[in-house]
Amino acid sequence: MTSAVSATSSPAPQSGGPRAPLLRVHGLKCSYGQAQVLHGIDIEVFAGEIVSIIGANGAGKSTTLMCVSRINRSSGSIEFNGASIASLPPEQVVRQGLVQVPEGRRIFPRLTVRENLEMGAFIRSDKDGIESDLQRIFEMFPILKDRALQQGGTLSGGEQQMLAIGRALMSRPKMLMMDEPSMGIAPILVAKIFDTVKNVLNAQGMTILLVEQNANAALRMSNRAYVLETGNVVLTGSGQDLLRDPRVREAYLG
């Protein structure tokens, strides 16, 4: 595709007046050993938005999220909620209200479903609040309630994805970063998960940064999106615009 950064439409927050983004990543670079995989990425996410990052395998989408979560070392600035988080340890990032549902789910396979959810609430100590949030997650994903005492590793892939989402929500985040929630899951379940993300979580005010291979579905539900290619943002715009963009259609929508 084209090498130049193009179509930089300015983000359009719903309410009028300029607002500071909730998450602002600027000039993010990251290397694994000798190989540099991110070459200076700029991403902004405003409160209440769903923003997606799409791109081919190996483009650096997961790496970006891992840098923002401070699991990977990186250079460049990362600001969340007005403060720099670029030098915080990962557990402090969670305490700031920014939590990730990682690729491949990374649930705790030999903790029970309930214990997995409790670990999501690790940073909290309000017992009653945790218990009522647990019930809310069980309402959102009733299957988890039936499986509450079962080991996480015995769940099906789709159930594990719901568990991973539920677990992340247990920390009561301001913003959720989701890495390929649709990976390896049957279409009908993908639709249900995306529906929950859009019509339950986002509708209740949760800000979401979504990484997806499934570009079509991701762009449809997103306010804005970034297209990542070999460690560079090559395109950005509203979800609708990108859906119509010929370059995106050719490369990602078949």
Binding site: S69, I71, P89, P90, E91, V94, R95, V99, Q100, P102, R106, I107, F108, P109, R110, L111, E115, E118, M119, G120, F122, I123, G153, R167, A168, S171
Partner: protein, 348 residues
């Protein structure tokens, strides 16, 4: 030269402690074969519970950072020197009645705190900087830590205190005062359940119950399991992984501290090289049970204790190490994940 002397002294000490271990034979004429068996079983179970407590320290650390902590046995050795120092400082004659029990509790808790803190510090200084290095670097660091601890023990034994024979020979094994009399607590038939057996049970069993509770039901325990199963996932949930690892070192170390006090009371001698023996038995126990698996460490410890004692009683003490290592080899060949290690590599 110094070393040869030390080695000779160590062997002598081992031989002495073996005499203790096979004490049952002195009464051979009087005991029925059933009773010989029971007596050996009691001895084996007591030793096994001690080994189990030390094995937990190996298995916890392995479960969480996949390190065979070679310094663990030597940590316990230093704990024994610490305990002996405290006993010496308190005065050895003060150990009757309630005062004695208070003193004993003090020594137990003090040594546990000492070993826990020391283990925490070793992790902080020698292992944590290597978290991203290869497992081999970590292992070499553990062996280095082990050497340092052994030499600290050698130095400690030369301190001018009564309990260290005024430091005349720093390498010599030191007598550990018999604070708990070896008098029978109970006798059923001709089988004697000594007070030290009872002490072992009173110390080890509650600790195992407490640890089980901690690991299964507390927030820290769940976090420990979470970190063992998936450290990155745990970080992403806001768990301070290094803190949890540090806590595991502290807990494993302090269990070793409790164990070493009981071990010293049971065997009544300590030496700067005892860590090797304690560590080896416990390590084999951990592997036998399935390294990384807590119930496995307890099961393995008890089995190793009983097997040692049966071998001492029915074969000969000099065959015991052969038997134990033979069993280790068989396990590694036919069931490498240990008795309780599941198909999934089970951790903590």
């Amino acid at each position: 030269m110094q070393q040869t002397v030390a080695a000779a002294e160590f062997l002598a000490a081992c031989a002495l402690s073996r005499v203790d271990a096979v004490g049952g034979f002195a009464r051979d004429g009087l005991l029925s074969s059933q009773e010989v068996f029971t007596q050996q079983l009691v001895t084996g179970l007591s030793n096994g519970m001690i080994i189990a407590l030390i094995a937990i320290g190996y298995t916890m650390v392995y479960g969480i950072i996949e390190l065979i902590n070679f310094a663990h046995g030597d940590l316990c050795m230093l704990g024994a020197y610490f305990a002996l120092t405290v006993v010496g400082a308190l005065g050895v004659d003060q150990w009757a009645g309630t005062g004695g029990i208070m003193g004993l509790v003090l020594v137990l808790v003090g040594t546990a705190a000492f070993c826990g803190s020391l283990n925490w510090s070793i992790n902080r200084l020698a292992y944590r900087p290597l978290r991203k290095a290869s497992k081999l670097s970590l292992l070499v660091s553990a062996i280095g830590a082990s050497f340092i601890l052994v030499n600290l023990g050698l130095f400690w034994g030369g301190l001018p205190m009564d309990v260290f024979a005024d430091g005349t020979s720093s390498a010599a094994p030191k007598a550990f005062p018999a604070l708990v009399s070896a008098a029978p607590a109970a006798q059923i038939g001709d089988v004697i359940y000594s007070r030290t057996d009872l002490l072992v049970l009173c110390v080890t069993l509650p600790l195992m119950v407490a640890l089980t509770y901690l690991v299964r039901f507390t927030k820290l325990g769940k976090a420990m399991r979470a970190v063992a199963q998936n450290p990155t996932g745990a970080s992403l949930m806001g768990i301070d992984v290094e803190r949890v690892i540090g806590a595991s070192f502290f807990i494993g170390g302090s269990l070793g501290g409790f164990a070493t006090v009981v071990y010293s009371l049971y065997n009544q001698t300590v030496s700067f090289q005892m860590g090797y023996r304690m560590g080896m038995d416990a390590f084999i126990a951990a592997v036998l049970g399935g390294i990384g698996n807590l119930p496995g460490a307890v099961l393995g410890g008890i089995l190793i204790g009983v097997i040692r004692s049966m071998s001492d009683g029915y074969l000969e003490a000099r065959w015991t190490n052969t038997v134990v290592f033979g069993i280790l080899i068989l396990i590694l060949v036919f069931r490498p994940s240990g008795l309780l290690g599941a198909k999934l590599r089970e951790k903590v």
